[in-house]
Symmetry: C2
C-alpha cells in the first residue's frame, strides 16, 4: 500500500542483507509473546513483586508490607502475573501464597542487571 514511500532508493544494495535478516529472525508470534513477557517486567511495581518472590513464596499482605502498596494494587498486578502464567499460587486458609513458576526468570533479570551495571562502568561511574 505504501511501497513507494517506504523503500528508500539506497537500500537496494541492502536487499540481500535484509532478506537474510528476515529469514533468520524470530517469527512474529514468538516476537509477540516475547514482548508480552517483557511488558510484565517493564513496570516497576510488578518487577519488585517478581523479585520479591524470586526465591521465596509470599502472601499478598507480605507483598503489600514489603512494597508499601495497598492491597488492591498488589492484587491487580498479581492477577496479571497469574494470567500470564508467570507465577503460581497456593491457598492456605485466608491467605494466598505466590511464587515464581520458572527459573528462566531469574536468569533474565540477572542478565539485565549485568547490562545496567556494565553500562555504569562504561559511562561516567568511575
Amino acid at each position: 500500500m505504501r511501497e513507494e514511500e517506504l523503500i528508500c532508493q539506497e537500500n537496494y544494495p541492502h536487499y540481500q542483507l535484509i532478506n537474510q535478516v528476515k529469514l533468520s529472525s524470530i517469527n512474529r508470534e514468538d516476537m509477540q509473546n516475547l514482548s508480552e513477557i517483557f511488558k510484565l517486567f517493564a513496570d516497576e511495581t510488578r518487577l519488585r513483586i517478581i523479585c520479591a518472590i524470586l526465591n521465596t513464596e509470599l502472601c499478598v499482605c507480605d507483598l503489600c508490607e514489603l512494597l508499601q502498596l495497598n492491597q488492591s494494587a498488589v492484587s491487580h498486578q498479581l492477577q496479571l502475573l497469574r494470567s500470564s502464567k508467570l507465577v503460581k499460587y497456593r491457598k492456605e486458609g485466608k491467605q494466598v501464597y505466590y511464587s515464581l513458576k520458572d527459573e528462566h526468570i531469574e536468569s533474565i533479570i540477572k542478565m539485565a542487571l549485568a547490562h545496567i551495571q556494565e553500562g555504569d562502568e562504561a559511562n561516567g561511574a568511575k
Copy 2:
C-alpha cells in the same frame, strides 16, 4: 500514613522473612533501571528493531523495509533506543546505521525465548 490498612495481622509471623527479602533485594535505583530496560523490550516494534540489529547493522530505511513501518515510527523508536544507550549509530553519507551496543541484550532475549518455549511445552503444545 496508611500503616493500619496495609499490615494484615497474619503477617507478623512473616516479619523476619519480609525483612530478609528486603535486605537481599535489588536496590530501588537498580530496580528502576531494570524496568526501564524491560520497557524498551516491551514494545513489539522496538523488540523487532532490536532483534533485527542483533548481529547486523542496518540503516533506518532498511528497518522500514524490513518491518514494513513508516520512517517516522522507526525513527521515533530509534530515538528512544538511542537515548537509553541501547544502540550505537554511525553516519555514512545520508544514511545512519544502527547496531546494538551490548551483548547482554542477546542473552536476555534468548533467555526469554527459552522461557516462552518451555511454557509451550508445559502447556497444551503437544
